[in-house]
């Protein structure tokens, strides 16, 4: 299967001399279209940094990140913002919803920033699947944590991105809700053939992914693939 994401020799160093921190120290990784990958590691292992690099939020010290046919390090900040809203769907631990926008507006926010019209049928399909159709006019702070994360998932899916990046999506949720959210994430990913990269430090959550990558001290230590179910 073709790789949608290719990471080669990725390094990110912070500071200098004695204070040098090697957040990422040579990562090579390929992720195929339609797969659900979990990246696990302890705090400070570099997993969040990796996700930021893949999402074009941070600039690597060395190495390359290629999504589809686009080399991220070659984009300037303007281009990378445009790339992000077109090609990447983000899901954050703290949901990152815009508090002054309604649920619906949040979902179509990246699409409208791009000046596009949302594919109404598709978006409504996503909304229904995530059980948000009754909440479209609510403001985010009127929703529970699980509901907010579902809105974030809908937002990530709405733009039909090349890849969805989820950073500890269940970090703020209780275990029951966590299961629901991951289940929904996995299900929608399958349904719409989406590539998902998820960071977590919770091995149980990670078990739900197709593939698990473990990072320690900025390097990939083990890879554990599963056959597509």
């Amino acid at each position: 299967m073709e790789a949608i994401l290719k990471v080669k020799g990725l390094k990110k160093y912070y500071g200098k001399g004695e204070a040098l921190v090697k957040a990422l120290d040579g990562i090579d990784l390929e992720i195929e279209r339609g797969r659900f990958t979990a990246v696990i590691g302890t705090s400070g292992s570099g997993k969040s940094t990796l996700l930021n690099m893949i999402g074009g939020l941070d600039i690597p010290s060395e190495g390359s990140v290629r999504i589809g046919s686009t080399e991220l390090s070659k984009l300037n900040s303007e281009q990378s913002a445009v790339f992000r809203r077109k090609q990447i769907g983000f899901i954050f631990q703290n949901y990152n919803l815009v508090p002054v926008l309604s649920v619906w507006e949040n979902i179509i926010f990246p699409i409208s920033l791009d000046g596009r019209r949302p594919d109404m049928d598709f978006v409504m399909q996503v909304v229904n699947m995530l059980g948000l159709s009754q909440k479209l006019d609510s403001l985010p702070n009127h929703l529970s944590g699980g509901q907010q994360q579902r809105v974030a998932i809908a937002r990530a899916l709405a733009g039909k991105p090349s890849i969805i990046l989820a950073d500890e999506p269940t970090g703020n949720l209780d275990s029951k809700t966590s299961d629901d959210v991951i289940h929904l994430l996995k299900m929608t990913g399958k349904e719409f053939n989406q590539t998902i990269v998820m960071i977590t430090h919770n091995p149980e959550i990670a078990q739900m992914a197709d593939r698990i990558i473990r990072i320690e001290d900025g390097r990939i230590v083990t890879e554990q693939g599963r056959q597509l179910a």
């Binding site: 941070d58 303007e78 809203r85 002054v100 926008l101 507006e105 920033l113 006019d137």
Partner: protein, 854 residues
């Protein structure tokens, strides 16, 4: 929500609107700052515009008309041709008959004319009550003339005018015509002449249909041409005359339209434009700070938007959108309030210039102020917008209120004291601290500067220069610059002077007589003139009086000047010979009274400065005046209450030289000359009594008597000085409010944005009391630094700049920092109160709640 709504979602507009509503408190501060900035801009614009409009209006009134071009003598047929030209808007015509010579009108030129409606309108002489004359026996007059004639300003009153057909022949028959008053208009005080309109039929009857005869005023046919444009009047007029085949006609362009007028107006309004720069700085300081604070507070929000794919340009658009909303609220409010403030202040300012005070409603004021205010806002949010646009989405999650740059941390050995912590906190965001301190300092320093400048005006000095007695009376022709002073006038008759001089409470009196004649200068005096007027002095003189140097040259060449001899006693003599007015020599009162001495009046230069030579006879030399010899005792300064006045009737048009003799000597030499000026001092209890008596006298007996009193003059100037002080103070108070607003805003946001940090230090054991004192310390440091800087800068400003500005003139410089002293406790109270109130507000949430906050 229906599907249609969903399709028209403009994320930036919606975000813009909703975030704006969310941050009400912050936006209120910003909108207030914007409207205050606009208020100041509008007020200054209104003042500047009104002043220059009034200046132009005043020049119109002084020149007597507001059309662009005038013809002193033109053929009626030519007028028709001109009026038909497409570039000509309107032509007014007038036929001059002569000057009214009624005794009551002495000192005022009243021109008897027929005028077309347009001519009257453009000459500020269109009847406001009644109409222009139509029948031969009708006349329209202004209130000045009516007042002098003692005729009530009511239509239908009968008026008799006396005039002569031939002005050059003093023996010509005097014509007495009786008229009925058919129109009344306000007089033009700025002009020396009043119009007295008669009917066309009367004019035709008097002139017999002969116009523009050489050397005769009767029948002079005049025209005023109004054009559509004020620009390039000369070339346009040339074109019009060429088109109509009248190129050899002579015409005059209204002085008010000359380019020099524009320069004068600019000079008058320059302080307003300088004020605008200050306003711009004050406005920038606060608006920039408000935006900078809101961007740093919301930096995580912008980071979030960026991760979701908002580009730098879209974020900037969002910020400019916010500022646009602020402008939409703040500017209209500011425009209205500013203009109203202008309405209050304009009279104070144009009052100084004299003339009427019309408040301009020129759209330029509003467009200009709005543009300037918008510009200030845009420039103010340029940097914050760039900052928000440049936010790195990853860093945004870590950024806090402090400068993003890393700093070296100093290690302190002693334990952390509250004061030390507060001091360190102050400098966590250096830029903001500096801006707040600058903003407050600017206002305090301005306040100090304005105050010191106003305080330096010395009323006593001013009055002693303008007035030397409690009451000054003069002959009606004393200031008649047109007809000349009549030395045989009877205004100050013996019954009037005797009554005043025997008035109860009289302290002192003084008399002034003058006599003018041609004087053959001696060798020494001619030489003095020649060496005093160096080319530099002459070119300086020529720059404001082009005829001056020519007359001097003529005088030196012919060794002839027009001498004016003043006979003085009492108040004017004492005033003129005060030590500070002696330019050369010394004054010996007794010797002078004997009659063998004369005082020469020198140039109007600052006494005390030494000149190697003065343009007057040398001290100690002997001069001959009309056959008698005198020794020059001293050279004195010309003192305006003594020296001012018209030349004698029929005096030659040449340079004047003034001399002072004791009045006794004067009266024996020229006994027929009557009193020109009378000076009277009374004690304080009788001031009102004498004022009342004089008021009655001018009302009942002689309405033309010129009277000036020290008290009315003082009151008049006090109101003017006070109102200009009001202006200065209004500007600095608004700027001070901007500064305090900035201070409050900074303090509040600095505290609110650190809620979590405070919770953190509280959680590790800082007590409420300690935290509260920490915040108060911070506020007090702000105040202390501001005051220290303000004292320093104000001392410099007041001690050097204001001292230099107030040097000379009617001022006595006093070093004062009173406004700062008054502000010191106020500032300290604010500095302690704001943190305290913020802390009270903070306390409502528990530590845990605050710790959990994002």
């Amino acid at each position: 929500m229906n599907k249609k709504d969903k399709k028209t979602f403009h994320p930036i507009l919606v975000l813009n609107r909703r975030t704006f509503h969310k941050n009400r408190g912050r936006n209120l501060v910003a909108a207030l700052a914007v409207s205050m900035t606009t208020i100041l801009f509008t007020t200054l614009f209104t003042l500047a515009q009104s002043m220059s409009e009034n200046l132009v209006e005043m020049t119109f009134r002084q020149t007597g008309y507001d059309a662009q071009v005038s013809f002193k003598s033109i053929d009626p047929e030519a007028v028709k041709k001109l009026a038909a030209h497409p570039d000509v808007k309107e032509v007014g015509t007038s036929i001059v008959l002569g000057l009214a010579e009624n005794k009551e009108l002495a000192g005022r030129q009243v021109e008897i004319r027929w005028g077309s409606d347009a001519y009257a309108r453009h000459s500020f002489a269109a009847p406001t009550t009644g109409r222009m004359p139509e029948a031969s026996n009708e006349v329209a007059l202004d209130r000045i003339t009516l007042k002098r004639l003692g005729i009530p300003a009511e239509l239908g009153e009968s008026v008799t005018l006396e005039w002569r057909k031939d002005l050059t022949d003093s023996e010509a028959d005097c014509i007495r015509s009786d008229f009925v008053l058919c129109g009344i208009f306000e007089g033009n005080e700025s002009s020396y002449a009043s119009m007295s309109w008669v009917a066309r039929t009367y004019a035709e009857e008097m002139t017999g249909g002969y116009y523009n005869q050489e050397g005769i005023i009767l029948g002079q046919y005049m025209a005023q041409v109004s054009l559509y444009s004020d620009r390039n009047i000369e070339s346009m007029m040339g074109q019009i005359l060429a088109d109509t085949g009248l190129s050899d006609l002579k015409y005059g362009i209204n002085l008010a339209y000359s380019p020099e007028m524009g320069a004068t107006a600019l000079q008058q309004t320059l302080p307003m434009y300088l004020g605008m720069i200050l306003v711009f700085i004050a406005g920038y300081l606060i608006i920039y700070n408000v935006f900078q604070i809101s961007v740093t507070t919301d930096v995580q929000f912008y980071g979030k938007l960026k991760t979701l794919g908002m580009t730098e340009r879209q974020i900037k658009k969002l910020i400019y959108g916010q500022s646009g909303r602020l402008c939409a609220i703040g500017i209209p409010a500011g425009l209205i309030l500013g203009w109203l403030l202008g309405v209050v202040l304009v009279p104070a300012f144009t009052g100084i210039l004299g003339g009427n005070n019309k408040v301009s409603l020129n759209p330029v004021i509003f467009i200009g102020s709005a543009a300037f205010a918008t510009l200030t806002v845009l420039i103010s949010c340029m940097r914050p917008a760039r900052l928000a646009g440049k936010v790195s989405p990853v860093e945004a999650l870590r950024m806090n209120d402090a400068d993003s740059r890393s700093r070296k941390t100093k290690k302190r050995k002693n334990s952390a004291s509250l004061g030390g912590m507060a001091w360190a906190n102050l400098w966590r965001n250096k830029k903001r601290t500096v801006i707040v301190i600058c903003s407050l300092t600017l206002s305090l320093v301005l306040l100090c500067g304005f105050y010191a400048k106003n305080a330096a005006f010395d009323m006593e000095k001013y009055l002693s220069y303008l007035m030397i007695a409690d009451f000054e009376l003069a002959d009606v022709t004393s200031d008649d610059y047109i007809g000349g002073y009549n030395p045989l006038g009877s205004t100050l008759g013996s019954s009037l002077t005797e009554h005043l001089e025997s008035f109860e409470g009289l302290e002192a009196a003084g008399h002034l007589y003058t006599h003018q004649f041609l004087w053959q200068m001696d060798e020494q005096t001619t030489e003095n003139l020649r060496s005093y007027y160096t080319p530099e002095v002459l070119s300086d003189w020529g720059s404001y009086d082009p005829d001056g140097p020519k007359e001097l040259q003529k005088a030196v060449d012919s060794r002839t000047v027009s001498a004016v001899v003043y006979g003085l006693d009492g108040i004017p003599l004492e005033a003129a010979t005060q030590p500070q007015y002696l330019l050369d020599g010394s004054f010996d009162k007794e010797a002078f009274a004997k009659g063998g001495y004369v005082l020469a009046v020198g140039p109007a230069i600052e006494a005390g400065e030494s000149y190697p030579v003065l343009p007057a006879p040398s001290t100690g030399s002997r001069i001959e005046l009309e056959g008698r010899n005198y020794t020059v005792m001293a050279v004195v300064c010309p003192l305006s209450p003594v020296d001012d006045g018209a030349s004698e009737k029929g005096a030659p048009d040449s340079m004047e030289m003034h001399f002072i003799l004791p009045s006794d000597t004067f009266r024996t030499l020229w006994p027929e000359n009557t009193l020109r000026k009378l000076f009277v001092d009374v004690d304080d209890e009788h001031l009102d009594e004498m004022q009342g008596w004089l008021d009655n006298y001018t009302k009942d007996v002689d309405s033309s008597l010129p009277v000036e009193s020290r008290k009315t003059k003082a009151e008049q100037y006090e109101t003017e000085v006070r109102s200009s002080a009001v202006m200065g103070n209004a500007v600095s108070v608004i700027i001070a409010m901007v500064g305090v607003l900035n201070f409050i805003n900074s303090m509040v946001t600095a505290i609110v944005s650190r809620k979590r940090e405070f919770a953190m230090i509280q959680s590790v054991g800082m007590t409420k009391r300690q935290l509260c004192s920490l915040l108060i310390y911070e506020g007090l440091y702000y105040a202390a630094i501001t005051l220290a800087v303000s004292f320093l800068v104000s001392s410099f400003l007041v001690g050097i700049v204001i001292r230099a500005m107030t040097a000379g003139g009617f001022t006595t410089f006093r070093f004062t920092l009173l406004p700062l002293a008054v502000c010191t406790p106020v500032l300290f109270i604010f500095a302690a109160l704001i943190p305290f109130l913020c802390f009270k507000n903070l306390e409502r949430q528990s530590i845990v709640e605050r710790l959990r906050m994002e």
